[in-house]
């Protein structure tokens, strides 16, 4: 499959000298066509800067990248992509449909096709009933939907979203998630920035975690949240001697729940033997999975020290 986004060692520094902000320090990532890719990171990690680099809104210090096969910032790539910026603003005096008409024309949609595109896009984001209302009167969530609509107006192959659910209520968030999944099923590629981990976890195929301008981890949600060699066992009838006998392989206990770390299957088996030998009854055993949030917090904690 082709790559929708490929970036190789992108470096972006704002300002110079003592005031320099190293927003991106060598970012390499690749996004396959047709996947939903989440870029995670805390405030100021460099997520927005990365999108701005892709679109040529800011210029790279070094490194190179391609969007849909064209270099970063290329007008040809922009013909086939949509972008929802953070803090997006629209002329307040336009109505929803006038706004879409404006951006539609800028996207090069022929006049004849424009009306039909606007209808479809408004329907997708659930804003059809607000089409003739002035943007001035929109609520934050409606603005966000309008933002999504303008990003979709040209039926793009690649969609870049910066905090798409910012300011949207839970129902609206769910709807936006459904829209994104539907778009993915239509074969579109979606790249989204967020710090709403649970949300990203729910829809993304792969994620990258960015901290202080570097990608600290990248992979499928499954691979990231799988904690290797840690198992959760529910054991009844445990005696205090057992806990000492398990020694360093025991990570935590919580009532009948034991968290055990075993490097090899042999070790796991010998731990189970020890438990049974002490009279304990094993009721269940599962490999432990951490939430994306755990992984994220662990990673950020670990790397924060090295940069600040």
């Amino acid at each position: 499959m082709d790559l929708a986004i490929a970036s190789n060692n992108i470096v972006k520094t704002y300002g110079r000298g003592s005031k320099a902000v190293h927003a991106l320090r060598g970012v390499s990532l690749s996004v396959q066509e047709g996947e939903i890719y989440g870029l995670l990171g805390k405030n100021g990690a460099g997520k927005t800067t990365f999108i701005k680099c892709m679109l040529g809104i800011v210029f790279l210090n070094s490194g190179e990248g391609s969007l849909l096969g064209y270099p970063f910032g290329s007008v040809h790539a922009k013909e086939q992509l949509g972008y929802l910026p953070e803090n997006h603003r629209y002329p307040l005096y336009l109505t929803g449909e006038q706004t879409l008409a404006y951006f539609g024309k800028l996207s090069g949609i022929p006049k004849a096709a424009l009306g039909e595109r606007i209808d479809r896009t408004l329907k997708i984001v659930g804003m059809a009933e607000w089409r003739t209302t002035k943007v001035r009167k929109y609520s934050k969530g409606m603005m966000q939907r309008l933002g999504l609509a303008q990003a979709l107006i040209n039926d793009p192959k690649l969609i870049l979203l910066d905090e798409p659910t910012d300011g949207v209520d839970p129902v609206g968030r769910k709807e936006i998630r459904e829209v994104l999944i539907r778009l993915k099923n239509e074969g579109k590629t979606i790249f989204l920035n967020s710090h709403l981990l649970s949300e990203v976890e729910r829809i993304s195929d792969r994620v990258a975690i960015m901290d202080h301008g570097t990608i600290v981890k990248q992979g499928s949600i499954d691979a990231l949240t799988r904690t290797d060699h840690v198992y959760e066992l529910t054991v009844t009838n445990t005696r205090p001697e057992l806990l000492t006998a398990l020694g360093s392989s025991l990570l935590r206990t919580n009532g009948s729940l034991l968290e055990i770390s075993c490097e090899t299957p042999e070790m796991l088996n010998s731990v189970m033997d020890t438990i049974r030998a002490s009279g304990g009854v094993i009721e269940s055993m599962v490999p432990k999975k951490s939430s994306l949030e755990d992984v994220f917090v662990d990673l950020i904690k670990g790397s924060a020290v090295t940069h600040d």
Partner: protein, 281 residues
């Protein structure tokens, strides 16, 4: 299509900001005032007696003249000079924001994500502003001309050159406002810088030279005076007022100022576009 969309958006912004409406109202009031003034006997009398203003051929019917110029022509020259100044000044004020509002956070990110070459945005805004001013100037000049013609029964079609010359002068000055707007991202800065430049070239430098000549008998040559005289060649809109006066007086006109202002406008607009395409947001 994309270019037209940008121009259209500019005009819409002008309508929404009430700038167009404001200028239209002021122009209308001016025209109504002119209707009233031209009805006054004294004014009619002053402008037309002892003979009708524009009859130049009749030997025995010499129009009233001051310094060899008919009062009517003088009026048209005064009106056009006034309109020129006001249009440039007010026009720059009300349209300076077009360039900088484009670069506001949240707006520019969206625009730059669309498949449009960056320079088109600046060019579109510029053309939009010039079109707005053209419409306003045309309305005011045509209005005044019709009112005067009907009231006085004397038509001076040459006055209509003002529509073209004033718009061109505005376009020239606005290219500088655009340039400084792009560079500083502040419409106020842009206006103040351009205003300061024109006050310098149009007022302070001539005054300094005049004083210099009074004190020394002859203008002194030096680096400063060279810069001063050089500066006036790179300021657009120079000589356009003279062009209007000469046209009204049916005197020979040189069209060099037209080319200079048009050339400088294109140059400053090109630099603005270039600066904009290199900017980060």
């Amino acid at each position: 299509m994309k270019f037209l969309a940008i121009i259209e958006a500019t005009v819409r912004e002008g309508i929404a900001r009430k700038t167009i409406l404001g200028m239209f109202i002021v122009s209308t009031i001016t025209i109504l005032l002119a209707i009233f003034l031209f009805q006054l006997n004294a004014i009619q009398h002053g402008l037309l007696s002892p003979a009708t203003g524009h009859v130049r051929t009749g030997q025995n019917q010499q129009p009233m003249q001051l310094l060899g110029v008919t009062v009517l022509d003088m009026m048209w020259m005064g009106v056009s000079a006034f309109l020129l100044l006001i249009s440039i000044f007010v026009g720059s004020f009300v349209t300076a924001g077009f360039v900088t509002s484009l670069m506001e956070k949240g707006t520019i990110d969206l625009l730059l994500s669309k498949p449009v070459e960056r320079w088109l945005y600046i060019a579109g805004r510029y053309v939009g502003a010039v079109l707005i001013i053209l419409a306003e100037v045309a309305y005011l000049v045509l209005g005044l001309w019709l009112v005067a013609g009907i009231s006085l029964g004397s038509w001076s079609p040459n006055f209509l050159i003002s529509i073209f010359a004033i718009t061109l002068a505005f376009a020239g000055v606005y290219s500088l406002v655009t340039l400084f707007g792009v560079l500083t991202r502040s419409s106020w800065f842009a206006i103040i810088i351009v205003l300061a430049l024109y006050i310098l070239v149009g007022f302070i430098i001539p005054l300094a030279r005049f004083i210099d000549r009074l004190l020394n008998g002859a203008p002194t040559e030096g680096v400063l005076s060279t810069i001063a005289s050089g500066l006036q060649y790179i300021m657009p809109a120079r000589g356009l007022n003279t062009l209007i006066s000469h046209t009204i007086l049916l005197q020979p006109v040189t069209i060099t100022p037209i080319f200079i202002t048009a050339g400088l406008s294109v140059l400053y607009l090109a630099i603005s576009c270039f600066a904009f395409s290199k900017k980060e947001f």
